[in-house]
């Protein structure tokens, strides 16, 4: 009975999921036509507090990983000289919600090297080709866990051709994991427009060609959470938007929370 009930629920939910997961029509949004007056948003992301000690990753359970070249420390919180890397920065609201933007045909590539994902945090546009390559001498599985896009989990042995996928709906951010090597994690920001960036090791970021207008500028970090700023870009304006993350900040509630949270679909 329990099995039957589970099957029925899954089938019911699965139908809904597959409908929403299919490629969405562009709708009635007009295509954005550049007037040549776009601006730029730049900034630096600072980290207020002592840089955390980088935790060592134990790769001993796979000799190919343990023996590979490259860093063996956690890279979820990279702070250098008080600047924070791997912050995903993007705009929402304003003109970008009113127009559609062309989808790039060049793929975004996620490589598995040294049993790590490269890059750890990155953005991609809706329906832009997404390629996953394996440069390691071991098998990985690539498992994004989106909430609005269809979830998939694929194995990739050494030397296998790249896995090619697309994300059909905007979603920030999709966690990606290798279930064989649980320290391998990445985050993908899927947006309907190209106005996003990821902070470099020196904490800097740049979002170019932003249509004039008022936006919410969103800063997202995997462990330190999300912050927002309001920003107005005038024609051909270059604006600097710096932000600081406190060392004590966290990404919010987790499964350790005391209050019950139902995460079922």
């Amino acid at each position: 009975m329990l099995t039957l009930a589970t099957v029925l629920i899954i089938v019911g939910c699965g139908k809904k999921k597959s409908t929403t997961g299919e490629k969405e029509p562009e709708g009635t949004k007009p295509a954005y036509a550049s007037k040549g007056d776009e601006g730029t948003i730049t900034g630096k992301i600072s980290f207020d507090g002592a840089a955390p000690e980088l935790k060592k990753i134990d790769m001993s359970q796979d000799a190919n990983c343990a023996g590979s070249a490259g860093d063996k420390t956690a890279d979820d919180l990279l702070v250098a000289d008080g600047k924070l890397a791997n912050v995903f920065v993007y705009i929402k609201g304003g003109p970008v919600d009113k127009f559609s933007f062309p989808t790039p045909s060049d793929p975004v590539v996620l490589d598995q090297q040294g049993c790590r994902y490269h890059p750890r945090v990155f953005g991609i546009q809706v329906n832009q080709p997404f390629k996953v390559t394996n440069s390691d001498n071991t098998t990985h599985n690539i498992h994004p866990s989106p909430k609005t896009n269809p979830e998939w989990n694929k194995m990739q042995a050494p030397g296998q051709p790249a896995i090619e996928e697309k994300f059909h709906r905007p979603e920030t951010l999709i966690p990606v994991k290798c279930n064989q090597h649980p320290w391998m994690k990445a985050s993908i920001g899927v947006l309907a427009h190209p106005y996003f960036a990821v902070s470099a090791k020196d904490g800097t970021y740049t979002i170019k060609n932003v249509p004039p207008g008022t936006y919410t500028l969103v800063f997202w970090h995997e462990t330190k959470g999300e912050q927002t700023q309001q920003v107005t870009i005038a024609a051909k304006e270059s604006k600097t938007q710096d932000i600081t993350y406190k060392a004590a900040a966290t990404a919010g509630a987790t499964s350790m929370q005391i209050a019950p949270t139902l995460l079922l679909p």
Partner: protein, 337 residues
């Protein structure tokens, strides 16, 4: 000769076999196989807990095959695949053992309900395999599927333990029927406690699989602790000298104390490891031990519940059974004369 003593027989099935020595019951082999099944099931529970604790649930993306094979290549047996594949392999062993037990029970047992119980166990293991497969096929419904998977796992273990109890020599031995207390009947209390322990194990699974927060599991721990403590105190007050009831009660309270310590330890270890890049010790071992001791607690409470139902009469029946007892005793005395 068959040993009846001065006590009425509680087990109706025993009457069918009154001409046979207890030691020669056809369920001895079934009993041994059921014990083996319980041991393998505990190993399976450990393997399943290791899968969850190491976040290895999706490390083999296909099912029922693993990387397209029944037996995977040695170079694939690495990292988290070791946990997931071991879980699948042991599950297969449990499946075949349960099938053998169901067949043996069907042909060797005279008790129809025991035959049905064997078939229920086999149906349970099949259902569990299907749910496990769905967990692989539909990773987006991880919590929705993983929680029933845990429920069926513990329920299956309870059924396997029941088969051990029903086929044990102690179950077949004639025992004195006692009257259950009307104010707080042990038959009811043990039943409620078993249900509460089962629900608590499911709440624990919900927490581990991130379907719920920790609060329901903590609330469940308080309720289960109160219920087990009440049950054990009641058993020891009323039946201290009857090892048949007192022994599982003592084991249950000992396991409860260990379980509470493991639960607190596992939670603290999980909190401390929240920033770790991967699941590490001691969080893994504490969580696995917490799950297994939880299952053992369930096994003890199931044993106590079944034995309570066997040797305790509901208060209303007690009077009529006492009369029946006198009749049987008189008849036995008369025939002996």
């Amino acid at each position: 000769m068959y040993r009846t003593g001065n006590y009425p027989l509680r087990n109706a099935d025993l009457i069918d076999q009154k001409d046979r020595p207890v030691n020669d019951t056809p369920t001895r082999g079934v009993h041994r196989l059921a014990i083996i099944l319980c041991c393998i099931t505990v190993a399976l529970l450990v393997a399943g807990a290791l899968v969850t604790s190491n976040e290895a649930g999706d490390s083999v993306p296909d099912w029922p095959l693993s990387f397209g094979r029944w037996l995977i290549r040695s170079n694939n047996f690495i990292a988290n695949v070791r946990y997931e594949y071991s879980h699948r392999f042991i599950a297969g062993v449990v499946g075949f053992t349960t099938l053998a037990l169901a067949i043996w029970t069907y042909f060797a047992e005279r008790r129809n309900w025991m035959r049905r119980l064997g078939l229920i166990a086999f149906a349970g293991v099949i259902a569990q395999a299907v749910i496990g497969g769905m967990r692989v096929w539909f990773p987006e419904y991880k919590a929705l599927i993983a929680v029933p998977h845990a429920l069926v796992a513990q329920s299956f273990f309870a059924v396997a333990v029941s088969i051990v109890v029903f086929t044990s020599r102690s179950w077949w031995s004639p025992r004195q029927i006692k009257s259950d207390d009307k104010s707080l009947p042990l038959r009811t209390l043990t039943g409620v406690t078993v249900l509460a322990v089962l629900i608590q194990l499911v709440l624990g699974a919900g927490f581990r699989h991130q379907a719920f927060g920790i609060a329901p599991h903590i609330a469940g721990a308080v309720i289960v602790t109160a219920l087990i403590a009440t049950t054990v105190i009641t058993v020891l007050r009323r039946h201290r000298r009857d090892g048949y009831l007192a022994r599982p009660a003592k084991f249950a309270i000992a396991l409860l104390i260990i379980q509470l310590g493991l639960g607190i330890g596992a939670y603290l270890a999980r909190l401390a490891s929240a920033g770790d890049p991967q699941p590490l010790e001691p969080m893994i071992s504490l969580t696995v031990a917490h799950l297994v001791v939880g299952a053992m607690t369930l096994a003890m409470m199931v044993t106590l519940m079944l034995r309570s139902h066997q040797v305790l009469s509901p208060a209303r029946q007690a009077v009529s059974e006492a009369i029946e007892s006198r009749k049987v005793h008189s008849a036995a005395s008369g025939s002996a004369v």
